[in-house]
Amino acid sequence: MSEQAAQRLEEELRRELREAQAAHSQYLSELEATAEASRAARSSMEEGLPGDLDDDPAMTVLTDTSLPDEPRIQVLHQLGPSLSRRDEFIEALLAIVKDRSDSPAVREAALQALGSAAFQVLRFRPHQPAYDDALHDLVADPVPALREAAVGILAQQHDPVVQETLIQGLRGEGSLPVERERAILLLAEDDHLDNLPWLRELYRSGSESVREQSVRFMGSYPDARSTLEGILRDKNESTSVRQQSGASLRHLAPDRFEAVAKEISTDTTDDPEVRTACLTALQHLGDTARVYADTEFVHRMQDVSGDESAPQVAQVARELLERRPDL
């Protein structure tokens, strides 16, 4: 019973811990050796580490740009939790991220570590301004992955500086730090901006995945209502884009969505996946009492529920009927 289960769990965990401990001890030995070699090399070049960092193998290895990437990145992964409490660790990460001559892979790993540290709001507070500065510097960095990461983080915060950079780039008045499609989508995260023209452009030119994103963000703009309804009704459009269009239309105009969704869900010539998505939304969200009060629709659902040519639609129709409040 539970006692035996607890015993098994304990034995399994203790074995995991023993293995982890052994692996970590091995890692610490290797780290010490790497640090020793690094110290010797720095000493011969008369390059010391400041203060007490001199004795810390983790900081020695992390900050030695002459070492290969792997041992430096391993320090972040293996020892990050305990190092994260130390101001000099955060400062070292900031220095690595800002140093364009350092390895791109180590800089990316350091940026991830800074992002993780930034979740520790109170502890990270003294470093926040320097972190913000570093992110802004990265917007113009020669390494695309670092640029993309920084622009993504800042755009999500609706940072006005990066938004202006993206707008100017889209207008051809400056260089874009990221590809055009991504730039439009990053701006679209802030619905206070006039993004609809760019989203329409994206819809016209993009892949299915990009069209789905475009339709998703159009849901924040009332002027997109008729466009969204048209896409939802367009049987030539992909299933996924039509489904997203339905969700966006429902957000903008729930009544209109309800009318269109009823039409689509009872249209046996339409895509079963789109019909299913319409029925699922009608069944669970909004004024479901009104849906059930539409006796003609409920009657047609009874037909749909028995239509085994579209079993998934029939199943959702049966669920909808089973939830009728009068049953």
């Binding site: 769990l9 304990e10 993780s116 502890r123 990270f124 999500q156 957000h251 079963p272």
Partner: protein, 434 residues
């Protein structure tokens, strides 16, 4: 012969939801009015079907070993006889009422009475059944209600700097998020009492999680697609539809860039790099806020909502990530016996924000936690979107304004009244056997 069985902490509909924590029940004879019964009646409590559904185990007292059956002797005068019941670790329910307690006269085949209950346990999201998965996604989407539902309060609690400071970068991190998850879970359970929060084991591949039927399938440029039957297709936050998420790892075969469970559970100690000191204080274990917690967030790239602290709750995956953070804490507690908040190896700052020593307000053991305490104004945020903490029939804890310390003994190991009616599939009641 008629008998009655009752189990403590029924909900308003008379249903019981159990975990691994033992709950008290009673059995008594009913037909005693005639006064002609002189002999006690022997009955046996068992699982109605030991092969199917959630399984239960019984004991005559809370601190005694539990077993699959329990013999009781019912007095002829109808006096109730106590027993204790809990779910069997490894055998949780998958549907409401699939664990049935059967009471039969000793040696008899016919049951005198039976009672369906649910062994309601938080499970690994990668291993949920399709039905469990669908109940969860549907209920979470209904709570969101396209941005108009109660979910918006949970989003607000994790947005602004002062709000984030109540919960991050100090020792209250784990307690605050335990309360946050439990608050959300209780709201989900108001809509569907069979739902629990699943956890994302971010140190293992979870291919079943990142699908169109569950948390969504990621496409180009942060697009996340959901299937037609997945109501999360309608997800809305901050006036915008959907989720932006770009995994920085292969969601089919890879895992987040985090330290693994074993390394996490060994965190502790106050010396730099002393992660294998198995715990002189909780101030050591909460290094996990950086990694695996922070790294699980930052294992997503681009403009992923979950990557940044101010937008993370806009992605429903956030709650599964934090459920695993809480599970790791629960495992650490179980393994190292860390349920007593008055002990320094469980929690270092054991006073309040005015004690010596102390840390930031909201992070000391005796501090109440925003927003449930309804305290506003600096250094607390300007408003309190969720107050008081929701009280439920199935648990007596935490109270309406929980403290940091109130969240520690979540299974009621030290005090039965502290049990919060949630548990994890791989974290038993009590402490790990040695």
């Amino acid at each position: 012969m008629q008998i009655a069985m009752a189990i403590a902490r029924e909900d308003a509909a008379g249903r019981n939801y159990l975990t691994w924590a033992p709950v008290q029940g009673t059995v008594r004879l009913l037909d005693v009015d005639a006064g002609d019964r002189v002999d006690p009646v022997s009955v046996t409590l068992t699982n109605d079907n030991p092969e199917v559904g959630g399984q239960l185990e019984f004991a005559p007292a809370r601190d005694q070993n539990r077993s699959a059956s329990l013999d009781l002797v019912l007095p002829p005068d109808g006096s109730p006889v106590d027993f204790w019941v809990a779910g069997v670790v490894g055998k949780p329910s998958s549907t409401d009422g699939d664990a049935v307690i059967r009471v039969a006269e000793a040696g008899a085949v016919e049951a005198l009475v039976s009672k369906p209950v649910m062994v309601r346990i938080r499970k690994n999201a990668n291993q949920l059944s399709p039905a469990e998965r669908d109940r969860f996604t549907t209920t979470l989407a209904k709570l969101n209600d396209q941005g108009a539902g109660l979910f918006k309060d949970f989003r607000e609690m994790h947005r602004q700097q002062l709000a984030l400071a109540q919960a991050h970068g100090a020792p209250g991190f784990l307690s605050w998020h335990r309360a946050y998850l439990l608050d959300l879970e209780r709201e989900l359970q108001r809509l569907d009492p069979s739902v629990t929060l699943p956890y994302w084991r971010f140190d293992q591949p979870a291919p079943n999680l990142f699908t169109a039927d569950f948390m969504g399938r990621s496409g180009a440029l942060g697009n996340v697609s959901f299937s037609g039957t997945n109501l999360l297709r309608q997800w809305q936050t901050d006036g915008a539809a959907g989720v932006t998420r770009e995994p920085g790892f292969n969601v089919q075969t890879g895992r987040a860039n985090v330290i693994n469970q074993a390394i996490t559970l060994l965190l502790g100690g106050d010396r730099p790099n002393a992660i294998f000191d198995t715990g002189t204080d909780q101030d050591g274990f909460d290094e996990m806020e950086f990694n695996p917690h922070g790294n699980a967030h930052t294992s997503f790239t681009g403009s992923s909502y979950i990557r940044s602290r101010g937008t993370a709750p806009r992605d429903p995956l956030f709650f599964l990530l934090h459920c695993n953070v809480d599970r790791l804490w629960a495992r650490w507690q179980w393994f190292h016996n860390r349920f007593d908040g008055t002990q320094p190896n469980t929690f270092f700052f054991r006073g309040s924000a005015t004690s010596t020593p102390h840390t930031d307000i909201g992070h000391n053991l005796l501090d109440t936690m925003w927003p449930w305490n309804n305290v506003t104004g600096f250094p607390r945020p300007d408003n309190a979107p969720r107050t008081p903490f929701p009280q439920v029939a199935t648990a007596t804890a935490p109270g309406p304004a929980p403290t940091v310390g109130d969240m520690i003994d979540y299974l009621g190991f030290l005090n039965a009244q502290s049990a919060m009616n949630f548990a994890y599939d791989d974290v038993p009641f009590g402490v790990a056997p040695t």
